[in-house]
């Protein structure tokens, strides 16, 4: 007996009419059984359980979002992302260096630089945009190295000190000033970039919030650390 082809069985499974198939199925237990197995497998497919993503997946996603944790993986070659990363890393770099120095003023002198000193080195007023993409990339790479140092300082702070102290608000304000400048510099490269504009807007909002906080609480109250 010639059995039904895979194509015919597949069409029957989908409810299509196949000439002569009905008669064949009534006479052939093999093809009947095959069709039933295929039907059963389809049900099994539909009932496969949902799967949980790897636990670290959100961290990787957040690193790619404006306002998320800065990405430590560089994706070079995309100017607007490079500019965004430069702004983001500059912020964390500055914050981290400042906090690191605050926590451990006597050690890691080669790693930790006073925020005030760093900010003082930052030209006031609008900065010139990078002369070329190569310059921007070099800057990102330089900041990337320093970012790792800053991140270690932040981790140390998290381990040794639970809450922000009042003087950190001033450090944070200086960091946010640097971030605003870095964002504006990046925007000079691509003024219409939505992500950069959103980033600058967030930085300005945050800076305003910190300034209000400083004004309202003075130097004696506890400051918020986001």
């Amino acid at each position: 007996m010639v059995h039904l082809t895979n194509e015919a069985l597949s069409e029957l499974l989908d409810g299509a009419q196949v000439v002569g198939a009905e008669k064949h199925l009534s006479d052939c237990p093999v093809c009947r059984g095959e069709l039933e197995v295929m039907r059963q497998l389809r049900s099994e497919l539909r009932e496969l359980p949902q799967l949980d993503p790897p636990p670290e997946l959100w961290t990787a996603i957040a690193a790619r979002l404006p306002g998320g944790a800065p990405a430590r993986r560089f994706k070079l070659g995309w100017p607007k992302l490079v500019a965004l990363q430069a702004a983001a890393m500059a912020a964390v770099f500055v914050i981290g260096l400042g906090l690191g120095r605050f926590i451990q003023p006597d050690e890691g002198a080669t790693e930790s630089v006073p925020v005030s000193g760093l900010v003082a080195q930052t030209p006031t007023g609008p900065q010139l945009p990078p002369a070329s993409l190569t310059d921007a990339l070099a800057e990102v790479q330089r900041l990337g190295v320093q970012y790792d140092v800053a991140l270690r300082n932040l981790e140390r702070m998290a381990a040794e000190q639970g809450a922000e102290t009042p003087s950190l608000a001033a450090e944070r304000l200086a960091s946010l000033n640097a971030l605003v400048e870095a964002s504006r510099t990046a925007l000079a490269v691509n003024p219409a970039d939505e992500a950069l504009n959103a980033y600058l807007f967030s930085a300005l909002q945050e800076r305003d919030a910190v300034m209000r906080q400083i004004n309202a609480q003075g130097t004696s109250s506890q400051n918020r650390w986001r």
Binding site: H3, N6, E7, L9, S10, E11, L13, P29, V30, C31, G33, E34, V37, M38, Q40, L41, R42, E44, L45, R46, E47, L48, P49, Q50, L51, D52, P53, P54, L57, W58, A60, I61, A62, R64, L65, P66, G67, G68, A195, A198, S202
Partner: protein
């Protein structure tokens, strides 16, 4: 019915709220990961695809108009992300992979007994399918895509989609039988 809480989260995410994004992610992460994992057939690729899908979705979340549920929207993005990647991969490995013709047709002794084709076997067999087969099978039999939609997404003819589907079903069936036989043999060797 509109999920008010979710609508609020979407609005906050549109404004750049990272916490809202994370809550949306937590609500739908399994659904998204599952579909890309099924289509990818591989854990590493699936994680990569899920990351791309979510990052793309949040970067263009302002385009979400709320006509459908957010879960439907992100699911569609996940499917598109996976299929786009599969098409890119298929440029290197022809999507139209040949079927070796192996079948259990005409050998009723090798039918899996009822319940033997359990989920694990089916899951593993699905992973072993060639990319093109797996994509067509999953899209048609589970996601409910028509052959026209599949052809459009994968860049193949409708006839090719039908042909791939029948071959995929036959291959899956053969793979499950193989797995089934392995389990039986393993059990016998332990006795």
């Amino acid at each position: 019915m509109v999920d008010v809480n979710e609508a609020i989260l979407v609005r906050q995410a549109c404004e750049g709220g990272l916490e809202a994004m994370q809550q949306l992610y937590e609500r739908h992460s399994s659904r998204v990961y599952t579909v890309v994992r099924r289509l990818a057939g591989d854990d590493d690729l699936a994680a990569d695809l899920a990351q791309d899908a979510w990052a793309n979705a949040f970067q263009k979340i302002r385009a979400f108009r709320g006509d459908a549920a957010f879960g439907t929207w992100i699911h569609r993005i996940a499917v598109n992300t996976a299929l786009t990647r599969l098409r890119q991969l298929a440029r290197r490995r022809d999507l139209e992979q040949s079927f070796d013709g192996s079948t259990t047709l005409g050998n009723p002794d090798r039918y899996p007994a009822s319940g033997a084709a359990d989920r694990l076997m089916v899951q593993r067999a699905l992973d072993k399918l060639p990319d093109g087969y797996r994509a067509v099978l999953w899209l048609h039999d589970v996601e409910g895509f028509t052959h026209e939609e599949i052809g459009d997404r994968l860049g193949i003819a409708v006839g090719t989609s039908k042909s791939q589907l029948s071959k995929a079903r036959a291959r899956l069936r053969a793979l499950v039988v193989e797995k089934s036989a392995e389990v039986v043999d393993h059990g016998a060797s332990n006795e």
